[in-house]
Assembly symmetry: C2
Homo-oligomer: 394 residues x 2
C-alpha cells in the first residue's frame, strides 16, 4: 500500500534511529543507569539559560498574534536581519536579510535546497564517511548521491578522488565540517584546495557547481580550532545551519540557509527556496523559536562539558585498546573496529549494554561512531565496559 | 540554476501569498487601518490563555533536555496518547498512540502522506474549489491531482462527477471540511454517500482508495453544526489535523495525522509515515509545541469572535449586492464575482484597498475568497468600501 520509493527507505531506515528505540527498551529493562547509549546526537547538555529567558520575555512583551502567526515564508524580517548581522560581525561577511531563509532545522534546509536545485539525474557529491540522511535528501528529488571514498588516515576529504569524480552532471557538493561522524574540522588549506578544484571544473564544464556546507556543528570546536566560513573561499557556496546543537534545541527544528548574492542565479535560487519551503509543507520555520534564536545568537551550549566528555572518552578508549582520530569538533568519535565486520562488533558491544553505531551507516565500514553528547557519568561508567568488551579481541 | 519543477512552482506561486506581501506594502503606504486585507488565513484572534500557561508550566516543571530534545520521529508517546484519548472521548473512536503521528502542521502531514502513498502517475482526486497547495503536495511526489468540478449551487461535493472520475489509478481522495475556500461543512448524508461510492469502487477495481480528510478547520463550525468524524464512515480514512486555527498557532507548525488500524496496510503506512517525516527533513513536529498542545486539547480560539465576523460580513456583503453561500464553518466567504472575470474584480477591489483572492486560485473562477479571521473593525470599516466598489457594477 505504500510507494515503492518508501518501501526502499523503510527497509534501509536509519540504523541510528533503530538503535535509539532499542536503547529505550534496554533502559526500561535494565534501568537507564545501566545502559550506555552512544547512538544518537541528542544533546545531554540543556539549552542555555538565555533560551528560557527569551521565551519568557517574548511571551510577556510581544503580541501573541505575531509571535505564533504566519509571516513571510522565508521567516520574520527582523529575525533574518539579526542572523545576517550576527554572521557579518563574526565572519566579516556582508549578508543582508534576503540572503537568509529560516528553516525547519538543518534537515529542512537541506531538503529545501535539493528541491530547489536538482533535476532528476543530477549528481551530488559528498565525502565518506557522511551523515546517512544525505542519501535520502538527494534521492527525495531524484538526484544521485555519489560518495567520495574516505582517506582513513586523516578523514580529511580525499581531494584527488573528488577531482576525478566531478563531472558535467555534478550539481552540488555537500560538506559537513565539523564532521559527523568523524569530528574532523576541514582545515583552511583543504578548503582552499577544494575551492580551486571547483573553480577549475566549473570553467572546464561551463556549469555551476554549488558547494553546500551543512553546519549544525559549527559552534562545537575544541582547542581553539577555527572553522573557516566557506562563503569566503568559494562563490557558489550555500550554508545550512541549525541551532540543534549550538543551543541544544534539536526537537524544536530551527535553523537557516545562507544564500549569498554572489551565487550564480542567486535571485532565482532565493525565490525558489522560499517557495520550496512553503510547498514542501514546512511553510515557515517555527515562529516562536525564530524569535527566540534572534535573542540568543551569542549564546552557546556548554562547550566545556562536551570537551571534558571528549577528553575522557578519547583517553579511556585508547586505554581500552581502541584507536581513533582525536576529534577537533562536533561530539562524535569515529573509532576503528577491532574486527573487520563492525556490525558484529556493535552486536557484541550490546552485550555490555554499550550502544554504538556501525560505520556502514556512514558509508565507512570497519569503523563505529560514538556520540559523546551524553552525561559525563555515562562515559565514566561505560569505560570499564569497553575494557571488558575489548578483552574479547585480545 | 533552479530545477525545472521549481521553475513551474515559482511561476504559479500562490496568489494568496503574493497578495499577503502586497497587503503589507499597501499597509506601509496607506497605513494599516486603511487597508482591508481579507487575503490570508492568519488568525487575528490570539491564542487562548491556556497556551501561554502551558508554555510557562512546561518551562518550569519539565527537563529542558526532554522538552527541546529529539524523541521518536512520530512524536512524544505521552503526547500521542493524549491526542488519541481526546479523539476517543470526543468521537467515540478507539485510537491508540500508534495511530497518531505528530506533524509540522497540516501541510507537513499532507506531504508525509503523499510521500508515503504515491507512486509516480498515481491519481489523487479532490473537489473544486480547493486549497491550491494540494496541487503541489501531490505533484511533489509525481502524483496527478484531478479536480472534480464544483456544484456551485451548494458547494457540497459533486458526487456524480466524483463517481465517474474514480479509476484503477485513484490512490487517494482529499476532502476538506469545513472547507477552504467555501466554508461549507459536508453533511453526514454526503459523507455516507461518498463512503458508499468509494467502497463500491474499491471492490470494482480491487484497489485501496484512501480518503484523506484535511481538517485544519474542524473546530470552527457555527450554529451548532456537527462535523462528522470521517474514520467512522469509511475504513480507509486518514485524518490530517492542525492546531493553526483551533489554537491560533499557524506559525508554530503543529498538527498530527490519524492513521487508524483499520487501513489496508496500516502497519506499513504507519511505519513509512514516520520514516517520511524524518527523511523529508521535518524529523519531528516542534517539540515544545507538542507538549503544549497536549495540555490544550480542550482549549479553543474564540469562536464567538469569528461568528460575529461571519454574520457581519455576510450580511454586509448581501446588502452591498454580493451573493454567497452562508458558510457553516472555517473563516472564509466564497463570493460570486459580479463579473465573469473575477481577477479583474479583485484588481478593482484593490483600488478601494480591499484585498480579496480570485477563485481561480482554488480552481473555481468567477468567485472570490474573503478570509474573515481579521479584526471586527476591519470588517466594519470595509463594508462601506464594498458598497462603493459595487457601484461600479450597477
Amino acid at each position: 500500500m505504500i510507494s515503492e520509493k518508501m518501501r526502499g527507505y523503510v527497509e534501509n531506515s536509519s540504523a541510528i534511529r533503530a538503535m535509539f528505540e532499542e536503547g529505550k527498551k534496554m533502559a526500561d529493562q535494565f534501568g537507564a543507569e545501566n545502559v550506555y547509549d552512544f547512538s544518537l546526537g541528542n544533546p545531554n547538555v540543556p539549552a542555555p539559560a538565555e533560551v528560557k529567558n527569551a521565551i519568557e520575555e517574548i511571551l510577556k512583551n510581544e503580541d501573541a498574534r505575531m509571535v505564533h502567526g504566519y509571516m513571510n515564508n522565508a521567516g520574520y524580517e527582523d529575525v533574518r536581519e539579526a542572523v545576517a548581522a550576527s554572521l557579518n560581525q563574526r565572519f566579516g561577511t556582508a549578508f543582508h536579510k534576503e540572503n537568509i531563509l529560516m528553516t525547519v532545522g538543518a534537515a529542512g534546509g537541506m531538503n529545501v535546497l535539493m528541491k530547489t536545485l536538482l533535476n532528476p539525474g543530477d549528481e551530488v557529491l559528498t565525502f565518506a564517511p557522511y551523515f546517512g540522511e544525505y542519501r535520502a535528501y538527494v534521492t527525495n528529488y531524484d538526484g544521485i548521491l555519489k560518495e567520495v571514498e574516505p582517506n582513513t588516515e586523516t578523514f580529511q576529504p580525499n581531494l584527488k578522488k573528488f577531482e576525478q569524480m566531478l563531472s558535467e552532471k555534478t550539481k552540488a557538493v555537500i560538506v559537513n565540517t565539523p564532521n559527523n561522524p568523524t569530528g574532523v574540522v576541514y582545515s583552511e588549506a583543504t578548503i582552499q584546495k577544494m575551492a580551486a578544484i571547483l573553480e577549475t571544473k566549473q570553467k572546464e564544464f561551463g556549469t555551476s557547481i554549488y558547494l553546500i556546507s551543512d553546519e549544525p556543528y559549527r559552534e562545537l570546536a575544541y582547542d581553539g580550532v577555527e572553522v573557516p566560513y566557506l562563503t569566503k573561499y568559494y562563490r557558489n557556496t550555500i550554508v545550512g545551519y541549525s541551532f540543534s546543537k549550538s543551543l541544544s534545541l534539536p526537537g524544536e527544528r530551527i535553523g537557516y540557509l545562507v544564500m549569498p548574492d554572489e551565487l550564480d542565479g542567486a535571485k532565482d535560487i532565493i525565490a525558489a527556496a522560499a517557495v520550496a519551503n512553503r510547498i514542501l509543507g514546512y511553510v515557515n520555520a517555527p515562529s516562536l523559536f525564530q524569535r527566540v534564536i534572534a535573542k540568543c545568537l551569542d549564546a552557546k551550549a556548554d562547550l566545556e562539558y562536551y570537551n571534558r566528555n571528549r577528553e575522557t572518552l578519547y583517553n579511556g578508549l585508547q586505554k581500552a585498546g581502541l584507536t581513533c582520530i582525536k576529534p577537533e569538533g562536533a561530539f562524535y568519535l569515529f573509532v576503528k573496529s577491532p574486527i573487520a565486520d563492525e556490525k558484529e562488533f556493535c552486536q557484541k558491544a550490546k552485550e555490555y549494554h554499550l550502544l554504538i553505531v556501525p560505520g556502514s551507516s556512514f558509508a565507512c565500514p570497519g569503523y563505529v561512531r560514538l556520540a559523546y553528547c551524553v552525561s559525563y557519568e555515562t562515559i565514566v561508567n561505560a569505560l570499564p565496559k569497553f575494557e571488558e568488551l575489548m578483552k574479547n579481541y585480545k
